[in-house]
Symmetry: C2
């Protein structure tokens, strides 16, 4: 949408598209690559809020609202983005109300997802949280193998820990246990879900 009003931009791995607290001047749509949205806590720890894969918007609504970015966006895989100035977004929304409605629907879904994650952090124990985080992220960034029975994720233990609100040691121990039970298989910066159904059980069951 809005092709023409914004501009295409190539962003190599490891750069930041924007930093937390920066005035939100630009909204993005990811065409290709991968971007990590993280929030830095006072004290050094950070939380990964989301991992963006192609076809998704980010920093879009804040930009329309004249705020500062509440999170940072780090490119973790060479990416191509399409981006719009905040002012342009506002004009487009005013000109094409349909766009606004779509945006509202989009954000409502993201909102629900965020609430789910909040609940998981508030009520679940580490093993469930890790399962939850894996399933959540696999909806978008996973590469399916063999009719979806397996999902391959490019994800470090560090990332997973920051999504589940724990540390790399606990992540390692949990993954090891699951590996013994053939639920996942792990490698350097790679996690393969061999049995997503079992993970789902863990999340539901308790």
């Amino acid at each position: 949408m809005f092709i023409g009003a914004g501009q295409l931009r190539y962003a190599p791995s490891n750069i930041y598209l924007f930093h937390q607290e920066d005035p939100a001047a630009v909204g993005y749509f990811l065409l290709e690559g991968k971007v990590r949205l993280a929030q830095l806590a006072p004290g050094g720890k950070q939380v990964i809020v989301d991992i963006i894969s192609p076809g998704r918007y980010f920093g879009f609504f804040v930009a329309s609202a004249n705020m500062t970015y509440p999170i940072s966006a780090e490119v973790i895989e060479d990416s191509t983005v399409y981006c719009w100035e905040a002012e342009t977004i506002r004009e487009l929304v005013l000109r094409f109300p349909r766009v606004a409605l779509n945006s509202m629907e989009l954000i409502a879904k993201r909102f629900a997802r965020l609430q789910d994650r909040m609940q998981m952090l508030a009520t679940e124990r580490v093993e469930q949280r890790i399962a939850h985080a894996l399933l959540d992220v696999s909806q978008f960034v996973g590469k399916e193998i063999e009719n979806g029975a397996m999902i391959d994720l490019a994800l470090s233990h560090q990332d997973l820990a920051e999504m589940a609100g724990t540390n790399i040691y606990s992540v390692s121990r949990v993954l090891r246990k699951w590996e013994d039970d053939d639920i996942v298989s792990t490698g350097r910066q790679r996690i393969r879900l061999c049995n997503p159904a079992h993970l789902r059980l863990l999340v539901e069951g308790g």
Copy 2:
């Protein structure tokens, strides 16, 4: 806004305006009273996502998106709400783009707030989380006394626990400690922040 397109409704304490999983058919604006938005976790525990005070919208964006409510809304103080059918909201957004823009700004702020809460749940320890939750909720539902030096909250330990992702026992212990330090004073379903600045220190500091 939109007066005329929706309708006024009186809702007594203890009823639910909507339940989690219900199709989101109506969006609300609170004129008077207090409403608790909570999400029930599989396993009985629940998380209080927000406490709504007069002047705020809720269930509004989900309604515009043809989804099911991701949370339940319980009236916890006799309330007056103004509400719109989902279809009406969509029509209004399409007809008055300005409304859409305002909505997007509104939701972006809420989004940022939710992300903050997520971070707190993921990285902070219980004492900080409770301080955080108190400050967060006091922005909206507190009654200021003596030029803001004190804030009076109608809040049970149970509520606070469900906001901070802990249990009533830990809440009680933390509040007791703070009471000994004259940071708060407590009563039945009532918490008075005597020294919000000190709480803010706790949140920042670590």
